[in-house]
Symmetry: D2
Subunit: 424 residues, 4 copies
């Protein structure tokens, strides 16, 4: 095929398409932290598929395993029949991830997208407790199907549901209202019989909110949330779809907070290769599902089992975590320095690990920065209610050189933007 | 890896797993209409991934394209950025499928599972009409996330939601109540201002219900439903996830009924290779989405674009449809003959095309038949509220020899079952 | 006070006012079947407070008791404290109404309006069964608070809720769709596990629908509904607020159908004098309320207890029922004769007892009839979705002379209307 | 009739009855602040029909007007037809209450109970704004029908609904969480697009919460709430059903706070005589009701119009308000003194005007106090989630002698209780 005519997207793909508007090129090839468009331009990827490509693109080790599997006619689609590839994944995930962290979880394979994992977590929590309501948090994002949307805070996304969203109460996330103790509110709501808030089945929380604007909850806040859940016999669900799989420095984002959720949702980078895949983990005593009570056609995506197993090899070596931490520090220092150096930006560094960003005064400024970056060969997106945060999601296995190269493009772009302030 | 210990599934996978209980073997390889387990046994596949493998397993043409793509580091995960593979799919789907059928649809890529396509269809219908309610039909099945579940009839699946399901009204599917005109009821509900049923945004219907028990609506009934929708300015959504992609003889299951839905949901066999993939098609004038108003992390699954494009090659040759029709006739005749020959079975043939089955007196009998089949090397599942229908889903490109072999295994199994009636 | 300036209503009362628009006079005095306006005009009342004045206005016997009670400073407002007047009512209702009919009901005093009785009936049914859904019927009307509105069919009244109405399913009332067996349809929904209709807590039904257009269900249909409820362990609620208290010939409207509801709602004419009053009756074994679980400030309206007790004296004499029947026959014959005599009206007689009317071709014609009647000194309203039925609700103790006088005014009015057909 | 056998209530009235359990006597006569039981015992009434008898029982002026009206066959029941008695009430309410306070409200007559007024206020607010959600406050109580219950905080009352209650968000009432600024919290929810709280149609608030435990919001808090509503274009509904009609010292409870609600609900003491009556007041520009869009059978309770008009005579003399304030001060001082004098009670005085009480350590202690009072001839109830507040609601026109007599009974009772602490 020759060069693609962009018109095909404009005329035949729905108006709902979005990223192709921000990055108006036809991409064709990708490797590690790099992308190529059809014109032969290359880009450093600080976007990482919104967290689905934590190991970069087309990792050689995973690729080799995948091609071998396909070449040998390994079974591709199996629903929840037992397969060799699935057994291997389950065993390895248990050996490499769960056991070393003293986590005893059973594993469920819903449809292979994050929202399906969230929907199954909510169903299970409701079934186990016999309660209907779920507490979510301000600025939380958990997915676009009706169940997940009902625990999502974003007003315009909620409106898209086209129907009222029920059985959820939004409580204040850490630092939602300055200088107020959000835990105290939460507990008072749970303890006062006249509060109008019923005892919920579960709370669902992100340790660092991605879509919500790269908001990192303090570990002590997370610890307190866990305490409230325990005291009130509420299940704690951590949605680790975006913050997990190494993004904040450890495999699970909640490890450093010292908490142990009752249910964990994983997806995005779980397959390692960018293939659709999702799981829900939960305490064995919660596993009261009836066979087939929740299911999905692609819950047995063996290609993803194969690459996900290969991806786990990264985690057998403790130095991998160390390397993420070093790159996190390097990134954070660089961002802090940008904020200091360009006071006109009025920026504020946010986040944790390699899930960081700079909050600008408004979405327009953040947008200008990402546009300048794109023009200089760096892909990066914005987050927050107004898109006011530009958000760095480099591959967690990126080499330091590329990381620095990307950071310097950001600095250059900021420099251009603050020198040419836009009025609107 | 040596032989898999089935215990890994029992101890580490959730109780929600189901098919591995009916087919208790570890599958490892698959090709065309055949599956291999780790013990080296082979099976004829009359299950076809519940409709996700209409072209059989690991089709060589698609496989070649996929391996080539991966080997060349073709971009794997792209969200909704423009990619070469995506452009090719859109163009080819338009050229091979839509244009020859005079269908003018725009295309949306939700998360890559059927339920995501349904959720996006419902959202769009609500947005376009500004109405909240949707009419679904008795025995309908549309998915397991809360939005899709709300239009699903199955009581136990609905109960699994853990919350009440709203904004939907279930109207009688064709033949729901014997000798009663279900269309007359439906229209009266819509026309009487005191009916308690509000004008809905949409009706969502399967032309042949899979999970509901292989119930095929008459073409004239579908035509009337379309008429009611038109008269009342209601959007008609055909969920063609299971019945589409050739399963009933034509690419779309609704072609023969002569109707043209406003919105169509496709998934399952769309990628051709069993990879997660889903789209929603709709009339261009309905495309009022805002950018990103509905999205999903894996909406750009390029591997699926590649195999889906390759799969479309089947449809460039008109003789393909013919061959499905011939095999459908062969299958139907065989089933009719079984029913006649074994009156003790008290069976009733149901369905259309290669989406057919025999309704037994109860789920136990149907279950015995499928168990006997499995023991003889044929994989087949049951459907219906009590699992009372055993359901034949051979690959639509299966060769006649394998098809007959499978059918004869079914006959043998029926013979055994009716000779040894179980009492319970 | 001098003559009232109607402007006070126009400027100070809400636009929601309605009857004062149809009958634009200031009424001041009333006695039996007669009303007086401030101009000294008299009117025959075939409206009877929409069923709240079955015994006519200011009945002398009740009036005497009431004035005596007030004069002696009998306690007026008592919530649910025990009072002499309340004890007398409970005892007398039991002795005069329940026991002779072999009905064993306990009695609950909700707030003193029909909708409060319905809301408490729904709550109780849900509590007893632990189920959430309630089946109501097309064209049913049960009140304007959110709970009652959710079981009401009228589209514009439902819309007034401003929120979606849930937990209810509307099933077809008798004769909703011609020539189709609505019972069969209902049962299929209850018995098919894929119907999308859950087992409800209760069905709520009017034996004759007032607001819905004076639709009288056949006794055999009611009997079958009772059978379906019994077979499926569903509570049967009869809303006898408009059709009860003698309106259809017997104290309860369901007596002639030979059914025995689990819960009965009464209000409107229960106090006899037009005073706010409502009760819910239910089988003693259903009485699992906690003290105060449902309440209301005016649940102890002693003035109503006093007049309601006096009103029961009508029912101690069996000839009272006979007299209603005779007047019902007279009325029915007269209406049938009107329909025959004025074929241009294209009328259809509907209803039962003294709850009858003539369905015209549309609301405009029915409206013209009632307007002509009002101009001739007869008050009568319309019912039905388009107000297409003019509705005769004479006092059940009206004397034959007045009844005939009213009927002849109707005939005269019809005559005028059919001679001067309006086109629009 | 001889002496009433209490058994009639036990065998024939529902278990839902409550006050007759706390005050197990059969009451028969009442006058001013006094009640008589059938045994000839008299009681001082510090209960006042839970706020429905602010002017005491059977006030002579109102009684005279009512008896005269009935004797003359004044029309009793009129729905919303225009009547002389209604016109008089509307005019007088406007002249005596609204105009002198510079309030320009239109008036709506829903069914004659508080919950009907609340339901109509919610409907109107939703209609006017086109929004569905309503913000209510912790510990708020607004009625027992589903619409009103959905804005009520009490957990056990909410549970009684039997269905989930939606379209409402509960925000913290003044002092819900110590030392935190609940207004800041509320505003953040309204202003942050990711808060999960949609812009509501209205806020509904009580200036002093009765059922919630005699919680008086500070005037400045109410003023701020009004400000938030104005800034966000949210309608402010004051439910003045219990706190209004002089209970806190002025006709409307919100006068002293200097706020002007968009909608006001009145009932309870509105008729003056304890007769069922309720109105909703609203700004004229909000009056977009269609005729009959909300209605109710007893919306034209002329007896209540008559007594309500007579009751307004109290308010023509400014000294009436003064007298309430004096008695309020006397009462407050007395209660403060009790708390000081009996430190063992560990009491806390709450409330405003003649809507006051003492919060005890728990419901048992408060219960003992009211029981001791009843034994000494004083009727008083408890409030709060655990019934921990004993609540003084003397008639606002009680003479000082009777007030002091009642207060001294309370002191005696407290003395007995604190000397004989109960352990449980």
């Amino acid at each position: 095929m020759g060069k693609t005519d962009m018109k095909i997207f404009e005329t035949k793909e729905s108006e709902v398409r979005s990223y192709c508007r921000d990055f108006p090129k036809v991409f064709t090839k990708a490797k590690g932290h790099k992308l190529w468009d059809e014109d032969g331009n290359t880009y450093i990827d600080f976007f990482s598929g919104a967290g689905a490509l934590n190991y970069g693109h087309n990792d050689d080790h995973m690729k080799e395993k995948l091609v071998e599997y396909i070449t040998n006619d390994g079974i591709t689609h199996s629903l929840d029949k037992a397969t060799t590839a699935k057994a291997e994944f389950i065993q390895k995930f248990n050996d490499v991830i769960l056991e070393p962290r003293n986590l005893d979880y059973k594993m469920m394979f819903p449809g292979p997208t994050g929202t399906n994992a969230v929907e199954s977590a909510l169903k299970l929590a409701r079934k186990v407790t016999g309660r209907t309501d779920v507490i979510s948090f301000t600025r939380g994002f958990h997915g676009m199907t009706i169940g997940s949307l009902s625990v999502t805070g974003n007003a315009s996304k909620r409106k898209g549901a086209g129907v009222p969203l029920h059985h959820t109460v939004t409580m204040p996330y850490d630092n939602f209202v300055d200088e107020q103790d959000s835990i105290k509110y939460l507990e008072q709501y749970l303890e006062d019989d006249g509060s109008g808030v019923d005892l919920p089945a579960a709370m669902i929380v992100e340790t660092v909110q991605g879509e919500g604007g790269i908001n990192a909850a303090r570990f002590e806040w997370l610890k307190k949330i866990e305490g409230v859940c325990k005291r009130h016999d509420i299940l704690l669900i951590v949605d680790d779809i975006q913050a997990g799989i190494g993004r904040t420095g450890t495999f699970f984002s909640f490890e450093q907070a010292g908490i142990e959720p009752d249910i964990v949702c994983l997806s995005k980078s779980l397959s390692g290769f960018g293939l659709p895949f999702a799981i829900a983990l939960f305490r064995p005593d919660l596993d009261i599902w009836s066979p087939g009570e929740h299911n999905g056609t692609f819950r047995g995506n063996n290609h993803a089992f194969v690459t996900a197993s290969a991806a786990l090899d990264y985690w057998t070596d403790k130095s991998f975590e160390e390397s993420i931490k070093e790159k996190s520090k390097l990134t954070l220092d660089y961002l802090n320095q940008i904020v200091e150096k360009y006071p006109e930006l009025n920026g504020r560094v946010k986040g944790r690990g390699l899930m960081v960003g700079i909050e600008c005064e408004n979405g327009d400024i953040a947008d200008q920065v990402t546009t300048e970056c794109f023009n200089r060969g760096l892909i990066m997106e914005t987050a927050g209610m107004d898109g006011e945060v530009f958000k760095l999601f480099p591959a967690i296995n990126i080499d330091e050189g590329a990381l620095k190269e990307g950071l310097s493009i950001i600095e250059e772009s900021v420099k251009v933007v603050v020198k040419e302030p836009v009025t609107n």
